[in-house]
């Protein structure tokens, strides 16, 4: 403890020099804090999403990500048809529920309102697949789907946008793309699979969708795996059934939750990489600065080292003294850097619209990092100090 105070005292004896020396460490540690904050913020968001959507959700899709806007690839690629969906249901017992989805951006009209948002054509089982909670009314039935009834289920946000009071619209008729539909239910908003997905959604029977927009090409099928089955193993089963039907082309069609969130992760990864680069560079430069200043300190205090050795200091105690001083210098920089990093993380969160989370573990890691850098880069100066010959050191003026 006393040694810590003495080390601090020696640092404070040269306030400006100590401050300038630690700037690199401050920046480096701030960057470390930001990296961890982004990583943890992102992990939390992804975990929440997986929890909300269920880790057992799979997509069979031709698209790289779920919201590629239904752009159809050149020509007419091979993809799952309704017969294949039936086959899957029959052959893979792990499937809890499965539903195709057709999707298009349409115009919705109700009374004086006219708004565009996405309409989804699905099986009734889509309610189970996406874990849609019915807030009022009901989801459409197998009967309605089979007989192409013009019924429509709205998400809470969609209902709100179309009418001032969300409840009023239930059992009313709305117009979608010039056709009249009856609103039979209102469900909760889905957590977006990507940040740009809107919460306003409408759901109608798949058969109706296919009839009204016959040119739409099915490119996404969602399914969930029963709780009693392992997700990874079931993915394999789904894939092998698809390969039996479609061959090699179906190789990358099945995507789990982790795949669906991959795009988002990639962006975060890129940001993290850049900041990690900044962090390591500034910590390295900062560390060299620490080494330099510690060498200057040792030189300046050669006489002191000689005196200490003459009165009985061992090489080890001299080594410890200067190591501690270097570490304390870096830890001070680390503390300032941590505060600075927390501020930066908030700014990054605002400017780049990415989630950040500051945790105690991040702060501990940052401080551990700074003491590690301090230790590493004072090793040479402190070792040099400890090996000075006492007589030579005493002669030094």
């Amino acid at each position: 403890m006393e040694a810590v105070i003495i080390a601090l005292w020696n640092i404070v004896a040269n306030p400006l020099r100590s401050f300038l020396t630690t700037i690199g460490i401050v920046v480096g540690i701030a960057a470390v804090i930001v990296v961890i904050a982004i990583g943890e913020g992102n992990r939390e968001v992804i975990q929440n999403k997986i929890k909300m959507m269920g880790a057992n959700l799979l997509a069979i899709t031709l698209q790289n990500s779920e919201f590629d806007d239904g752009k159809i690839l050149a020509g007419m690629p091979t993809f799952v048809d309704l017969k294949a969906i039936a086959t899957l249901e029959k052959k893979v017992p792990a499937i809890e529920a499965i539903s195709p989805v057709l999707r298009i951006n349409s115009r919705f009209k109700y009374q004086s309102k006219s708004i565009k948002f996405f309409i989804n054509g699905t099986y009734p089982s889509y309610q189970i697949v996406r874990n849609l909670e019915v807030l009022s009314g009901r989801y459409f039935s197998v009967f309605e789907e089979k007989h192409k009834k013009r019924v429509c289920v709205l998400s809470k946000s969609a209902a709100k946008r179309l009418s001032a009071n969300g409840q009023n619209i239930l059992n009313q008729n709305i117009v979608i793309d010039g056709r009249r539909y009856k609103v039979i239910g209102i469900v909760n908003d889905l957590p977006p699979l990507q940040n740009n997905a809107k919460p306003e959604q409408a759901y109608i029977p798949y058969t109706v969708m296919k009839k009204e927009w016959p040119y739409l090409f099915l490119d996404t099928v969602y399914l969930t795996i029963d709780k009693d089955y392992a997700v990874e193993k079931s993915i394999g089963e789904v894939e092998s059934v698809l390969q039996q039907i479609y061959g090699e082309t179906s190789k990358n069609w099945v995507k789990g939750m982790t795949d669906l969130l991959k795009g988002e992760k990639a962006i975060i990864m890129q940001t993290t990489l850049i900041i990690t680069g900044v962090a390591s560079l500034s910590l390295f430069v900062g560390g060299i600065g620490i080494m330099n200043i510690m060498l200057v300190t040792v030189k300046e205090r050669t006489k002191e080292i000689g005196i200490r050795k003459a009165i009985g200091a061992t090489d080890a105690s001299i080594l410890h003294q200067f190591l501690l001083e270097g570490v304390m210098l870096c830890v001070l920089g680390g503390v300032v850097g941590t505060v600075f990093g927390i501020v930066c993380a908030q700014v990054v969160a605002e400017l780049m619209e990415i989630p950040v989370k500051i945790s105690w573990s991040a702060i501990i890691v940052a401080l551990a990092f700074s003491s590690g850098v301090g230790l590493f880069f004072s090793l040479y100066p402190a070792a040099y100090a400890s090996k000075l010959s006492p007589v030579e050191a005493l002669r030094y003026e």
């Binding site: 003459a310 009165i311 005493l394």
Partner: protein, 226 residues
């Protein structure tokens, strides 16, 4: 207690600071080492005080071969057995008087409270209790040297080595300091003092004269020829 046999110290390329010096010092002796500036007195003192290693020759302390000791063992000897007093005081400028005195006790791992107590006791012994919290640069030369003596006594060493302790002091203050050394000798300390002042050497029981790196006279043995 301390025995030097044919000790030489050569500074590269070929400066013979000490040549073939033999000297034996017993417990409780008061030895004055005399000689002109540059004759090798400090070199001899540093070797006796385990600060420096001879280039050649054999040295024993309490019958152990000093050459065989590790750096840490040498440091421990300096800590427990030797008290150094220098011409230019060599106090740490940023520590006040009592902290300077307490420093060797910190290296001896004494508890904090004990260190402070002992330091104040030692300062009282050298008559500086009212200067305990002064920084060295606020003390006069004589006062600084008294702090240095108190520090040398911190771990109650057997041997006090003083290299021209009065060299930077006026004669009155110097006499005062020498009286202090005489008292220490009376209390049983082994004293080795470098001086080129004959009047100061008169305090000692034994005078060793160094010239050009050689011991040319030892009052214990009579004149020596080289």
């Amino acid at each position: 207690m301390i025995k030097l046999e044919n000790i030489s110290k050569v500074y590269p390329p070929k400066l013979h600071a000490l040549e073939d010096a033999s000297l034996s010092i017993s417990q409780g002796e008061f030895v004055a080492i005399m000689g002109k500036s540059g004759s090798g007195k400090s070199t001899l003192m540093n070797i006796i005080g385990f600060l420096d290693k001879p280039t050649t020759g054999h040295m024993t302390f309490l019958s152990q071969d000093v050459k065989a000791l590790t750096q840490t063992e040498l440091a421990n000897l300096r800590l427990r057995e030797i008290g150094f007093v220098f011409q230019n005081f060599n106090l740490l400028p940023r520590l006040n008087a009592w902290r300077n005195v307490a420093l060797p006790m910190a290296y001896a791992k004494l508890p904090r409270q004990k260190r402070k107590e002992n330091a104040f006791q030692l300062l009282e012994q050298v008559g500086l209790i009212d200067r305990a919290s002064h920084l060295p640069n606020k003390l006069s030369g004589g006062e600084r040297q008294r702090v240095a003596i108190a520090r040398a006594l911190a771990n109650d060493p057997n041997i006090i080595i003083a290299d021209e302790p009065t060299g930077n002091l006026d004669s009155k203050t110097g006499k005062n300091i020498m009286d202090m050394f005489c008292q220490l000798h009376q209390k049983g300390k082994t004293l080795i003092i470098v001086t080129h002042d004959a009047s100061i050497a008169s305090y000692a029981q034994r005078v060793v004269t160094v010239h050009d790196g050689k011991i040319i006279h030892d009052s214990q043995h009579g004149d020596q020829d080289d």
